[in-house]
Assembly symmetry: C2
Homo-oligomer: 386 residues x 2
Amino acid sequence: MGMIKCKKCNQIEFIQKSGIMRGKQRYYCKSCDFHFTINETTVPQENRRPHEVTIMDIAHQLGISKSTVSRALRGHADIHEGTRKMILDLAQELDYQPNPLANALLKRQTNIVGILVPEFRHYFFPTFIMGAQEVLSKAGYNVMICQSDESYETEVANVKALLRSRVDGLLVSITAKTDNFDHFRAVMQKEIPLVFFNRVCPELDTPQVIIDDYSGAFQAVEHLIEQGYRRIAHLAGPVTLQVSRLRLQGYIDALQKHQLPLDQDLIVYHDLTEEHARICTRQLLDLPQPPDAIFAVNDPCAIEIMLIAKERGINIPQDLGIVGFSNDPISAIIEPSLTTVEQPVWKIGEESARLLLEQMEHPTVEKRMLATRLIVRKSSQRSLPI
Amino acid sequence: MGMIKCKKCNQIEFIQKSGIMRGKQRYYCKSCDFHFTINETTVPQENRRPHEVTIMDIAHQLGISKSTVSRALRGHADIHEGTRKMILDLAQELDYQPNPLANALLKRQTNIVGILVPEFRHYFFPTFIMGAQEVLSKAGYNVMICQSDESYETEVANVKALLRSRVDGLLVSITAKTDNFDHFRAVMQKEIPLVFFNRVCPELDTPQVIIDDYSGAFQAVEHLIEQGYRRIAHLAGPVTLQVSRLRLQGYIDALQKHQLPLDQDLIVYHDLTEEHARICTRQLLDLPQPPDAIFAVNDPCAIEIMLIAKERGINIPQDLGIVGFSNDPISAIIEPSLTTVEQPVWKIGEESARLLLEQMEHPTVEKRMLATRLIVRKSSQRSLPI
DNA sequence: AAAACTATCGGGAAGCTTCTCGAAACGGGT
DNA sequence: ACCCGTTTCGAGAAGCTTCCCGATAGTTTT
């Protein structure tokens, strides 16, 4: 077998080949019953990212154990004042940053909260996120934001991804198309705190933060009636959403209270896209008996209504009164300015975050409802002097 | 010493007390030189979050080692087809989800990218984020979003927090107040990929994605000149930002090209807040020789200008031409519609993300510039029939 | 001075995965 | 039977932290 020496007994007589492993020849020493390969010293290739400062580095430099360092950094008792100062000083000097990954692995807690929204192009969700983030980051939580883009499949995939990321809690506003809630049941089964907001899901018994959609809608429509409108249409949202249903109910009840007939032709449902809003608006305006006012389920689609009305030369508010919902900043700027129902978006974010934090402490299914307020602007004030 | 038995030699004669540790009595056996405490079996309290399925669970259930399971799941070679199928089936059944924390700890890679923006109330940053997120999530990265709220201190804190979270890369648009860049130098020193976009920082030699602010501004102002405006003001952004400076330079050069005088009174700098925009606008309009057109550094402040002009009964575009920058959706809706410079926001997001991914592969300092396009609407078209 | 404490620190496991290296078993030539 | 090769699997370390428990030295009490 030539010049191969046994790694153990240093003999060369009893060596024989014993197969090939991963390309390298393997040898066997019959004398000492030992298998081995000859590992040519590979280049140590030190091109990896530079090592971050760890607790062990500090321990080594000070000649103490990592336990002691950890205790000093965590502010535990059972440690000498001098030692603590020494450790704290060195940590400062080396700019030591605790590795949250190791911590998360150990504690099974990432300090990350997932926020899942259908979109964040418009005013509502970004503002919500800001409100929630403020509360959460004060409590030491980071935030991971996903948008489902109004797609059920994306929503399911996002929930899965957030669970995989081991988020500690979830803030969710569902898609308009979501009619199966198994992915959220899975979350609940894993006992991961979950709070719905705005677009909640009534089938599931979870904490949630909503606004008083019913009253808001009721007030809005009553206001239109008081302004003298008699044929009031409703550009509704998808029936799948509780928000839409509540606003619709507010619309219906306001008409009923004032003994106005309920004409099914005057209720059209749209899927919250701008395109569909335009289609539905044209449908309403092309009616043999077109409405003299429209209550829209939210501001973005109220805006679309206004644009089409302007296009057709319809006078707002004389020939057509319009009321929106949500008080998007744009509604104050557009002309005529849009009457709308204000909802405390920032506060919804804060409350949702707070409710989530509470749920992390102890299980709860508390549901909170925040008040709305009608903001009367020009688009609905027929009584104004022209 | 009564009935205390030594845990080692089971004798009771040589036991004596030896101090108290954490409330519990400690004993010492003189015979076998052994210290011990009596730990009353504490309640096992199983109120912790239920254990997630791990690779070890699968291994145990199948009576094989975790290495084999890992290999099967990772799709490695060196594994029996039957074994692999068995493992894959069980993993499916148990809904096993690999723990990214353990992986991140091992690989020193979290697959998380941090995005740091000054705000996301308006159109630009949310849209940017959506574009970036699309590219990043396709590449297997999650996104962590922070907003500095135009505060330098918050920006620094956010960068620190993102570094602590061990993000694999950073997409940043700086604050208007940021004039010290040490926190970004720290990022570069740690060799963490970093891409600036929009509000970049020229001092640092990093990859960046910007748009052609200079040309956009130049075109916008030239358009105003062509429309017959002669006393064109500029509501500029903070000089600290390169974007502002480039747009200002475009403004200056356009005036110069057409031999118009450069009046310093007509250039006012504002801090990008709505309030300050209003103050600056009034300052311009109150000039002894007020401007007949204003080029605004972005659309939100162009909107403010329009609102004040309307308030004062100034006719747009006859008495005052206005051009904005960024093509916020609101600019098409407001009346009169706002002439503005379109920037491909979504694409900026995509490109920034792509550049970051490239930089993760190999170091680069590539800078990309995307084209702008002037969108002429009513607010600047004096030549239109009234 | 022995007995009983107190103050301070270290060892090692757990948390979950991937990867390297070696072991074991089996197959096919001679 | 022996030699050499292949296939398939397992042990164990690394990555970083926290926490439990025990060790050690010095201090007070009897």
